[in-house]
Symmetry: C3
Subunit: 139 residues, 3 copies
């Protein structure tokens, strides 16, 4: 049994956007009891992460860390066509990955208590980001 | 055909814990010949990695690298509720990921010769970590 | 429905090798219309990434960044049996991961417009790298 759904996330620039509810709804709607939920971002400058979902400071600290690790405008970068955040966005996306797979157990997206699913926009400007959710398993 | 198993790993604090044997046993017990084995840690401060399995120095060097990359007590972090290793644990888990998928070929978990599966505890204290193994494929 | 294929990539040392076409061909040959395509590298010093596929400068900048982040010959490393690039290769592979899952939609590997699939060789010398592609879904 397989189902596939499409989500679009309109970002307002760099930062994390909670998509946990949308993904959990896709799982519930699928009727799958035991299986896997795959989430995929069709981009090279936005990614998907599992992150602590209770204190927004965690995601602010994560952003502060990544901004220091992969500095905008770093002179090591030659690919700067779209500005100082262009190449850092590609690297941040590769380090945090565009694909994510979560178990489905008892008909639910079996996240841990503190796990939320976030689209991570790495460009400083607003973008429309495309996500595909694929659900496989048994009813 | 689908099967799902649960593992618990009692950690003694920061470091890697070999779960290769448990995952391989789940694959063998499932009776699946061709398919995929998905391993998932239900946490935001522990992760799952594939790492060289022969020389323990590799995992010690990895830990030394990560400890330097994401320093405990770094002043860039505001989220310090649970101590200086709290926020670094979240970042280390995001950089090394909580989900992992391995092919099943000829009824076996088709790891490379030098690949082992490790739960990576990123907190300095001991924790009980929950893992779900999901197996999909054909007998 | 499930299919599995094997690919071998002969690398000429450190850098990225485009395997998008081979993976896309596996998807098309499988006859699966809706499902998932899993790609796996059986190694601990080579990995798989999704990266921008239009401007080769992006992959050169990525390499420059990683070479600075995980320096060859770093004195923090004790595991140096196979040379100064040995331990950095393990860490680079863990940070960029050996497994990758992409949706199959309408019979095609549903990559974003700018996403290419690359094997990333992290050793400085040439190697033969083994990849397994597993395809699951419905015709």
């Amino acid at each position: 049994m397989i189902a596939q759904q499409h989500l679009e996330v309109a970002t307002r620039g760099r930062g994390t956007y909670d998509v946990t509810r949308s993904v959990a709804d896709s799982v519930r709607d699928s009727g799958i009891r035991t299986g896997l939920c795959h989430v995929f971002a069709h981009h090279t400058s936005a990614s998907l992460i599992l992150c602590e979902n209770a204190d927004p400071t965690v995601r602010r600290d994560l952003e502060a860390f990544l901004a220091r690790l992969v500095p905008d405008g770093d002179r090591v970068f030659d690919h700067t066509d779209e500005g100082p955040d262009d190449m850092p966005a590609h690297i941040r996306a590769i380090l945090t990955k565009m694909d994510l797979t979560i178990p489905i157990t008892a008909g639910r997206c079996a996240l841990g208590t503190w796990q939320g699913i976030y689209l991570y926009e790495h460009r400083t400007g607003a973008h429309r980001r495309q996500i595909t959710v694929t659900l496989q398993g048994e009813p």
